[in-house]
Symmetry: C2
Subunit: 337 residues, 2 copies
């Protein structure tokens, strides 16, 4: 069995190798291998492919046992290009750094450690000490989560330990650990917005969630409420959000995701139609919340564990699509149905 790692995944070849219990031949392939059949002759029905993207621009379907996506999103995968016998798995783990980023954002909004640090100097210490201005706490504040999936729950677990009150809006999610005070249906979003000190967008971008936070929803927020977006920018309407921040009808925003991304190495686009970073009540970061050194380590450790399971004949974890049931022998031998 060989493991083919395509494009960006190939950068993590040594990581995967180090985590695998069963030694495998690991073969890096260039990013063209995600879409072109050029390299398919080397791949056999017994092999594993690790790639964020997969399609065949010539309509062919190569043969392999497992496509393991080294991320959560499946938008780069063309299901029609996968052999029926292949399993498809993905991997998460980004909920951990995203939750840490969100907790840091809320704590920093209340504590303002930069200002505290900036005020400290040996020469002015005595006066600064006497004139200290009290800051805020997140304890007792209300956190409103839009989406109570993997990311929302990971944030909730941490926020609950701080004594925050948690409200979530989610159509389907359950709350087996009892972290939230309530999981509200989507039509009760305005009620959640009106009660929340922090509103965190933690749902995927879909046709239903595009523009979910528009002028009316921003108007429903507390005047001190802070919107935190670590999901996809277009869930919040660009113009309405900029206006609410500029007119200070909400307290502020922490924005890590953007409306425009460069498509390739030389592409230059603006992150938004407005200069959010010039607003004093907007904290803007370059899509960094999940971008940690530990994330690829955890992800490739997970993928290695899954390849070990495949070799051992154990059920795969995070199985998105199981192989089609084996056809009966008579048909299996029919080359042209």
């Amino acid at each position: 069995m060989k493991v083919f790692m395509i494009g960006e995944a190939a950068n993590h070849k040594d990581k995967l190798g180090a985590f695998l219990t069963t030694p495998c031949e690991i073969i890096p392939l260039p990013r063209e291998a995600a879409h072109s059949p050029e390299f398919d002759s080397a791949i056999t029905a017994d092999d594993v492919v690790v790639s964020l993207r997969f399609s065949r621009n010539d309509g062919s379907v190569p043969d392999f046992r497992l496509l393991h996506v080294p991320g959560a999103g499946l938008d780069g995968i063309d299901m029609a290009s996968l052999p029926a016998e292949a399993s498809l798995c993905n991997v998460f783990e980004h909920e951990i750094p995203i939750a840490e980023f969100v907790m840091a954002a809320m704590l920093n909004w209340e504590i303002r450690p930069d200002a505290l640090r900036g005020s400290f100097a040996t020469d002015t210490w005595s006066d600064v000490y006497r004139a200290r201005v009290p800051h805020g706490e997140i304890h007792g504040l209300t956190l409103g989560l839009i989406g109570f999936g993997r990311i929302g729950r990971t944030i909730a677990r941490r926020a609950a330990a701080f004594g925050m009150r948690i409200l979530a809006v989610d159509q389907f999610a359950a709350d087996p650990d009892g972290l939230a005070e309530a999981i509200l249906p989507p039509d009760r979003l305005p009620e959640m917005l009106a009660q929340s000190d922090f509103v965190v967008i933690a749902c995927p971008l879909t046709d239903e969630t595009r523009g979910l936070i528009g002028a009316a929803e921003l108007a429903a927020m507390k005047p001190t409420g802070v919107l935190i977006n670590v999901s996809r920018a277009p869930i919040a309407d660009e113009e309405a959000l900029y206006g609410a921040l500029q007119r200070r009808t909400i307290g502020g925003a922490v924005l890590d995701v953007w409306y425009g991304y460069p498509a390739g190495a030389d592409d230059r686009v603006a992150p938004a139609r407005f200069r959010f970073e010039d607003l004093p009540n907007a904290v803007c970061t370059p899509h960094s919340s999940a971008w940690t050194t530990r994330l690829p380590e955890r992800r490739y450790a997970f993928i290695a564990r899954n390849i070990d399971r495949l070799i051992a004949g154990e059920p795969l974890l995070n199985l998105v699509r199981a192989p089609a049931p084996a056809a009966p022998p008579a048909r299996q031998n029919t080359s042209f149905p």
Copy 2:
């Protein structure tokens, strides 16, 4: 029954009044009333005194029912100046903001949100996005707590929710909630220091803890280890700490407490013999960790609840010293023993 609020406590007169279920006459007294008998004629055996400091410089002992300290520390209270019939209570609640400050310090050390924010600009977005540098996570890191009392446990509860590994050094503390992997006796401090990514000083300053973190202990820390002091500065040796930071034998320090404090309104002292704030690996703040707007609210709500209990004849909370048992009548009438 009247409530006398002395010095700084008098600033919170309205807060206390608002929280009291039983209306009481609340009388503010100047800070001299903490040490001088000048105002004692107004205070009767039925009354309550709220003050951070209490002594009688003439050796007299006034009569009252309860001295409620609006903080945790009792170093401002001269026990010999309290009437035998009085109860003494204190109040905590600062463990909440201190734990939030410590969690923010650890998260910010790993995430560096300032640098992320500083790197974001519309004009350079495409290049910055492509060149993002991954940051750290606190998940899976080891937190070493020196002291596992109220503050240590409050930090541990939050750190545990982040998936940190927790080691504590404490002679007596128990861990009923199973937050820590181990509670080590003081002689195993070096072992804890060697394993911890963050070391938080969360013990009181006593003869035993003064200089507890000296050159040898700093040398026992990981070269990337970060010392966080939110307790009392002299627990860490000033010169040894400055040296370790300057020579980068430890990763850094977050210092919120200092070696020198101004004694009065016009006093000017230096916070330390060295300019810690000039070191790039030292985050220095002006004794701010517990200084929140919510802290006095929670404290005076607690004090009001205790006064309500006193009036209702219920047992007091946070009773530090109970009144002496009533003397038999014969002796009670003896004016000169």
